[in-house]
Each structure stands twice: as C-alpha cells, then as structure tokens.
C-alpha cells in the first residue's frame, strides 16, 4: 500500500499569538514550530497500517525551507521518505492543488491529512484534494482498518458516530481519537538524517483567497467574584444579569 501523509508546519500549541507589520503577519519571533498535531496522528496511523500490511509512507509538505525540521521529524517518527513543495502555503486551495499535482502521477492508495491545522483551522485540504484527484473522502475519522482494498472507517458526526466502508483509493482526515502520537526514538532520529527529502518547485497553482489582516479578541472585563458561601447566587446572576439561562 502506497500512503501519502500531508504535513503542516504550525506554531506550538502553547504559543502566545501576536502579529507584526500592522497586524498583517503572524509574529514568528521566539515561536517553536511543530508538526500539526492532527497530521502527526495521521502519520502515526499511516505507519501502523503499513507496518501491518506492508507498504510505504511518504510525508508531503507545501512550505518553505523553514518547515524542514518538522518534515525531518516526520521522517524520524517513521515516514519512509518526504517531499517538500517549495512555496509559501498561501491558502488551502493552493496547498491542495500543489499536493494534487504531485500525487496525480504517483498512484497513492491512501492519502491522510489532519482534520485541520491548529493555526488556520481551515479543515479544507483533504476535501479539496480528494475532489481534485477525483477520489472519495471521509473527514474527522476516529478509526480506520484496511483489508485488501476494502477500508472500514468510523467518523465523528454531530452528536454521534458513523461507520463507513470504502474501496481504495481514498482520502481521509484524522480526528483526535484515531491513535496516540508516536515519539521518535534515537534510531529514528539518526535514520531521518539520511532518509530522502525531495524538494520540488511549486507548479502554477493559484490561491483564490488571501488573509489580509489579523486581530486579537478584545480583553475580557474584570471577573466578578462570588464567595463559596453564596455560590448558589451564580444561577440568579446568570439569569438576570448575564441573561444566558
């Protein structure tokens, strides 16, 4: 089975988000970048599947050279090889089009991505990519099993779970419960240094949206404190003052 995993390079979850250049750019100063946590789950699941039934896992990223530590980490976790499409990832459409362009001649059986990146939260790449490659897609999956060319899946739906079945090839996006992330061991880290990381120049994909500026949410006013003895008063305040119950 030939598997492709889409990797996004995102600020660590503990990052205090600030902006520069008149609120038009994310401030990367002092920010640690990581593999998007959902992509890491997708990668781990891809490895589990290929360890069981054979195959290779390729990690792909659309990004500039500064994304390479995250790509190397994907190799350390266990991806067999990696591809970086050398371009600024402007929007989801651009990223999906670039990945589709690379994948169209590679005959991947299964393509995994995270359910969304934790920076732009679009959740769009998997669906766009599937449509561009004329493949079926299932999002927010919490379980996947592959038997021959039959795939059994579970995905989150509003208020519950759905079980699905599909034939390969298929595009999926990973939800949290899919698996536990794998921590790279020393052997993996050593091996990652010599694993192939191919850099491909971007094709001619066009972004069709652009982020113009950012804004931080307004700071909250003072927190109204209630004593433990009068804790029950909360309900009255929520009703008559906050008007939410």
């Amino acid at each position: 089975m030939k598997v492709l995993v889409c990797i996004s390079n995102v600020p660590d979850t503990t990052t205090k988000v600030t902006f520069t250049e008149n609120n038009t750019k994310f401030n990367t100063q002092g920010v640690q970048f990581i593999i998007n946590p959902y992509d890491e789950l997708a990668l781990t699941k891809a490895l589990e599947l290929t360890e069981k039934s054979g195959g290779t896992v390729t990690a792909i990223n659309v990004g500039l050279a500064d994304a390479e530590p995250s790509i190397r980490k994907a190799l350390a976790i266990g991806a067999h090889d990696a591809v970086r499409i050398n371009a600024e990832p402007v929007d989801a459409f651009f990223v999906a089009a670039e990945i589709a362009n690379y994948a169209k001649n590679e005959n991947f059986d299964l393509i995994l991505a995270g359910r969304e990146s934790i920076d732009y939260n679009g959740g769009l790449v998997a669906g766009l990519l599937a449509e561009m490659l004329n493949m079926p897609s299932v999002n927010v999956i919490t379980a996947i099993e592959v038997n021959g060319d039959t795939v059994s899946l579970e995905r989150d739906i509003d208020g519950g779970r759905e079980k699905l079945e599909c034939k390969l090839p298929l595009v999926v996006s990973a939800q949290k419960e899919l698996t536990e992330p794998r921590i790279p061991n020393m052997r993996g880290i050593m091996a990652a240094r010599t694993k192939p990381l191919k850099v491909v120049e971007a094709n001619t994909a066009q972004a069709n949206s652009q982020t113009l500026s950012f804004e931080l949410p307004a700071a909250k006013g003072a927190c109204k404190m209630i004593s433990v003895e009068e804790a029950g008063k909360l309900i009255e305040l929520l009703h008559s003052e906050a008007k939410v119950i």
């Binding site: 979850t13 503990t14 990052t15 988000v17 989801a92 999906a96 934790i118 732009y120 939260n121 679009g122 959740g123 769009l124 790449v125 669906g127 766009l128 599937a130 079926p136 897609s137 299932v138 999002n139 919490t142 059994s152 995905r155 989150d156 739906i157 509003d158 208020g159 519950g160 779970r161 759905e162 079980k163 699905l164 079945e165 034939k167 298929l170 949290k176 069709n208 949206s209 652009q210 982020t211 113009l212 950012f214 804004e215 931080l216 949410p217 909250k220 006013g221 927190c223 109204k224 209630i226 433990v228 804790a231 029950g232 909360l234 309900i235 305040l237 929520l238 906050a242 939410v244 119950i245």
Partner: protein, 322 residues
C-alpha cells in the same frame, strides 16, 4: 447576489444551524435566497424555511439521497448552485458541512472560507472574518473568485424571522447511488444527550474533579440546566471522559452562550477552544488559576463544596420557572 444555502437535515428535521445559515444568507442577498434540501423532508418543514428568508427550496428527494453521503451531497449542492447561478454558497460548518464544503468549492472552482463568523464586507471586493489559531485570533480574508463558498460557524449568527414565504420545487441532479464510493454502514447517535457542538450551555470539568467517579456532580448540574458536558485535555487523556468531550486547541472549539469550567486551570490551549463563549464561569480552588482572567464570573474554592450549592440553586430556579 444569488445565495444558495445547504439545509442539512437529521432524519427529516432541520437544526438551528440551518435557520442561522438562511438568516445569514437573507441579510446579504440583494437577489434571492435559494435553499438545497437533500433527502426526505416533509413539505411543511421545507415551506417553513421561508420565514427565515428563503425564497425557493430545491428539494432533492431521490431515494438514494436519504442518507448523508459526502460525495453525492457535494455533487447535488454543486448542481443546485449551477441551477440557480449562485454567487455565494452558504454551508453551516458542522461535521457533515465540513465534509461537503471543500468538495463543493473544488467542483465549482470557487474560493472558500471556513469558520466564518461575520457577514461579508462587500464594499471593496469580498471579505469575511474567520476565527483562526483555534480562537486565539481572528483573520480577515478576501476571496477573489466570482463564486464563493462560505462555511459558517454554528451559533455565531442570530436567527431572524421575517414575513416571507417560499416555494418548494422538486429537483434532480441525475446521479445514481453507484456514484458514491463511500457507503454508510451504521449511524449511532447518543439519544437524549445534547451534542457538544450544538450546545448553548456547557458544563465542563477538569482534573479538579479528582476522578471519573465524581462526574455525577457535573452531569447533574448539566442535566438540570439542559447543558452538554465537556472536559479538559488531561481528563480525556486519562480516559476519565470520552475524547468527544475534550474541548480546547486540539479538541473541539466551541462557542456556547454559557461555559462553566469546574476544576480546570485554564491553560492557553484550553482557553483557545472556549474563549469565544459568550459568558464564562470559572470555579477553581487556586486563586491564581489563569481561567479567572478569561472568566466573567469566578468562584474560588473546592468544587465539591461549591457544586452542590449551584445545583441546588439551579433546581430551585428551574422549578420556579416551570
């Protein structure tokens, strides 16, 4: 502007998010608001969409569409969009909405923005505000294509009822069940429970509850208020509660009207997922807990002492209202 709204139904019923989406569309349309309803829905329920601003409902009620399917539904929505020359396609960003929205956009070669929390600004171009960094910030995004797809965040727009009626027209996208490669095998929904993603009131708890055996206190308060239950990351990591209840940057991002956080310190990753809540209550024994900086109401003390008092007051309040 011609607007098409995808009205997702669950077993023949429309959810609040659909009325929000139609109200949203009605506010930006200078032309017409069209609605695509897919699968079996009673005629009366379709006609009712008029009062939120729908002018015409395309009802795709072929047998093979009764069950949600991302591949088929996205094709049907694209078909409807073409039939009515839609400039903007509005889809509520539910789990199923997230499945179809990007596929619709790719089929129509449309620019797409998801997680939209504002009406579009069309003074110069077409600009929408979306929530980014899991709620830590907002971004204003311009869409440059002539056709646009907007996946709007549930519970972000008010429902407006207006004096309006709509027509219902049967429609057929000419597909077959075999056009879908994915097949639904089983759907399981927890009955009687309010899904967290749709809840207006949420009672959430963290490690301060000391163990899963104490969650009856949390659930009791939630039941009385008619709230959904949620939890922090450590709690779901330790399997005290299911992953589906984990709110925060790597869990679910929610924006209910009320979020009560019990025994959750308020790490930056957790706050990211809940900071858009309208009103936040923090209950924590640590006066330095970061949650108090993000909360509207705070109680410093032991959850096991505080919760019964609040539950008691909630009971009294509810019986008074009844």
């Amino acid at each position: 502007m011609n607007i098409l709204v995808f009205a997702e139904n669950q077993e023949g019923n429309f959810k609040k998010s659909v009325f929000e989406a139609i109200s949203f569309a009605s506010q930006i349309s200078e032309g017409k608001v069209m609605v695509a309803s897919i699968g079996k829905v009673d005629e009366a329920k379709l006609a009712e969409l008029g009062k939120y601003g729908a002018n015409k409902v395309y009802h795709y009620q072929q047998e093979y569409l009764n069950q949600f399917n991302g591949e088929l539904y996205s094709k049907v929505i694209a078909h409807a969009a073409k039939s009515c020359n839609a400039d903007v396609i509005v889809i509520s960003n539910t789990y199923s909405g997230k499945m179809v929205a990007p596929r619709v956009a790719a089929q129509l070669n449309a620019g797409i923005a998801s997680g939209v929390i504002s009406l579009p600004d069309t003074q110069a171009g077409f600009k929408v505000r979306r929530s980014v960094f899991s709620g830590k910030a907002f971004a204003d995004v311009a869409i440059n294509t002539s056709v646009k797809v907007l996946a709007i965040t549930p519970n972000s727009f008010t429902i407006n009822e207006i004096d309006n009626t709509c027509s219902v027209e049967a429609a057929d996208a000419g597909l077959n069940a075999t056009d879908a490669k994915t097949k639904s095998i089983e759907i399981a929904r927890a009955s009687g429970k309010i899904p967290l993603t749709e809840a207006e009131l949420v009672v959430s708890a963290g490690r301060g509850m000391k163990g899963p055996e104490n969650w009856n206190l949390v659930e009791e308060l939630a039941d009385i208020l008619g709230a959904a239950t949620a939890c922090s990351k450590p709690v779901s990591d330790m399997h005290w509660r299911p992953h589906s209840e984990h709110v925060g940057q790597t869990g679910i991002t929610i924006k209910p009207n009320l979020y009560i956080a019990i025994g959750i310190s308020g790490a930056i990753q957790h706050l990211a997922g809940v900071s858009s809540s309208k009103v936040i209550v923090a209950i924590n024994k640590d006066p330095e807990a970061p949650f108090f900086k993000a909360a509207d109401y705070g109680i410093i003390g032991d959850a096991f002492e505080i919760l019964p008092k609040i539950t008691e007051a909630a009971k009294a309040f509810k019986s008074q209202q009844a």
